[in-house]
Symmetry: C2
Subunit: 399 residues, 2 copies
């Protein structure tokens, strides 16, 4: 355990204040004091230090708390957008999405490269990612030197702490030290994170979990991922591993083990389609789900059947997750949601059946169909969170 000294103490309170400013927009010191339970004295000292470091800015205008504003007007504080720049990326099998954000997490530029990269050699993938990062940074009118951190969100089992990719559907190899590789190429600190964790943080910061400290997110894409928010923090497994939901076992069928991925993986749902023709082409180009959506509307029975089976499998898996974590909300994201009503209905039904009676009503299911940018923005948030924590003031006094 880390030893508690004054430095840690200040680090905690600093992060607390900074996070309060981030979450509650332009905010006055008095209100920060109320929210954090810190004395106004301490808040003044910390905000002075944050101002000095250029992480926040004062705004004298917006004191509109009340018409009958009597006393000295409040000075509102907000994050200084220019305090840092980060790049966030979503790396998927058939597309790369990049965003550059400022210190607040606001998107400055975005770039989508619809390229199929899975099963390419690492060098090729690294080339493409490097290129995407550089182009997106240029699009934002910046240079890579202006970027503080890059965070890459990708599917699979990612060990955040070490930057190792234990296994990922887009890499042929296992145990790739992708963080070091990209850090060297970009000459900018680069971290890797599970894409599911990235969008979990995205929802906590900007999306449908802003009001919660605990929740669970399930991502239904090529792989099936899990993000757990516990006490306002990403819960990473014992070793900092991300969770790979697709490996969950749903049953022992006649043909052996039945894993969730074999029922609800993107390729498995679409895979029952004829292996040639326009649909196969669409899949190859990463438009499978969009196409599937059209087919389902046209009442393609094979596909509807697959969607229903997938929905059942996911519904049961969610019930199991809820049994373990009992979160107040479960957010579902990912391309498979595009399968529409047949999928969602069977999911909801299976969930309702599978959830134990004692937990009925505990968790609320929320479906979210954000775009890829949002995932990339989540990766940026992961990078920003680490910046917030890092000691700007090496440890100097508050002056």
């Amino acid at each position: 355990m880390k030893t508690a000294d004054p430095e840690l103490m200040r680090a905690i309170n600093r992060l607390n204040v900074l996070d309060t400013i981030r979450r509650h927009g332009p905010i006055a010191r008095v209100e920060i004091s109320e929210r954090t339970q810190l004395s106004t004295t301490t808040v003044s000292a910390i905000t002075a230090s944050l101002l000095d470091d250029g992480l926040i800015l004062p705004r004298h205008e917006g004191d509109i708390r009340n018409e009958a504003a009597r006393g000295r007007p409040r000075v509102m504080l907000e994050l200084n957008p220019d305090a840092a720049r980060v790049v966030g990326a979503k790396i998927a099998a058939n597309r790369l999405v990049f965003v550059v954000t400022d210190f607040r997490g606001d998107v400055l530029s975005k770039l989508t490269l619809p390229i199929r990269i899975d099963r390419q050699p690492i060098g090729v993938i690294a080339d493409l990612v490097e290129d995407g990062v550089r182009r997106c940074v240029v699009d934002a009118g910046l240079s890579l030197e202006d970027v503080d951190t890059v965070c890459l969100g990708l599917p699979g089992v990612i060990e955040h702490r070490t930057g190792q990719i234990r296994s990922s559907p887009i890499f042929r190899d296992t145990n790739v030290d992708f963080a070091s590789e990209m850090t060297a190429r970009l000459n900018t600190p680069t971290i890797v994170e599970s894409d599911a964790h990235a969008i979990t943080l995205a929802h906590h910061w900007f999306g449908k979990a802003r009001d919660l400290e605990d929740m669970v997110l399930i991502s239904l894409e090529q792989t099936l991922g899990l993000g757990v928010l516990h006490d306002n923090q990403l819960f990473r497994g014992a070793g900092g591993l991300s969770h790979n939901l697709g490996d969950l076992v749903l049953g022992m069928g006649p043909r052996g083990i039945v894993r969730l991925s074999s029922q609800a993986g993107e390729s498995e749902i679409l895979g029952e389609q004829p292996a040639s023709g326009r649909f196969a082409e669409a899949i190859r180009l990463g438009r499978g789900m969009t196409h599937a959506q059209a087919l389902i509307k046209a009442e393609d029975n094979t596909l509807i059947g697959a969607a229903i089976r997938a929905g059942e499998a996911v519904g049961v898996a969610i019930a199991n997750i809820v049994t373990l974590f009992a979160p107040p909300r479960v957010i579902l994201v990912g391309s498979s949601l595009a399968l529409g009503e047949p999928f969602l209905d069977s999911l909801r039904n299976a969930y309702a059946l599978a959830i134990p009676p004692s937990l009925k009503g505990v968790a609320e299911l929320v479906f979210d169909d954000s775009t890829d940018d949002f995932w990339a923005q989540g990766a940026a948030a992961v990078a920003l969170y680490e910046l917030y924590e890092s000691p700007w003031n090496t440890t100097g006094p508050a002056l």
Copy 2:
């Protein structure tokens, strides 16, 4: 989030020092300083305060660190056994087990009441528990006034924070505020906790997980429970709920939902036996598993079949848990282990099949057949842990 002030700082370091003393037996200040990374100055101050509060004791004798001990001999410090007394209990359907322990967690007296209590009215159960606590305390040569805290470990979904029993196989009602009830009856602070959590802490403190900060425990009893140790702390669900493994869904069979409890619950394994005769009598008395063990040795095929099916179900469930938490060790406890090789073999096989290849070898399975005392001792440890954290020095200066 709690605000960081000097008080919190000292509380953290105090707990850290106290826990180091607890874990590493009689230990000198220098060694505490090495282990905690705190300066010897700080360690001296904190230990002085602990000595002053009577929580620890000096021992001048045992300085045998080395034959060639040159300088001033070390003064070894250890927990003062008499600093507190707690009662821990395991409350199961057909027996009540109590222990009184001292401040170190050493058992002073134990008491087993082989009574079937499930489905009794709350008042009756409370009577029996109260009686057991009082008798066990008397057996230890103490009075209830000498007891600081009582902790009751029981199966089911327990909300530790509020002391509510959301649902438990031994209560007919749900949402019982058992902690308040027993606190009032005993006139001693009483907390409730999941029995699985209790034995998880028992293993972390005294058993097969002393060397780990992360692990998972699975309890196979009348109900199937889960305990997760994360960063040396019990991981309680979002709402402080305990996990009820039996509700996990293993598949959608022809007859609807198949839950783990229907495959591996104690009564389900034994339930396939004829409903009358000596065996049924044994079950009613809570000796079902012991009896089953004998029958399995005698090659009772019905029972062996049930054991094998249960093992498969549990093996798959464990694989799923490992997929989610990736712990270095999984400890299995509970009466069902008594089913012996048929059960364990099929469990191991199913686990090996179900564990995803990328996680193969990550987690080590450990079987543990401790007695009921150990569970009760774990409950005592839960109580002690809260005592360790509580502010003895309301916040006075260190003198």
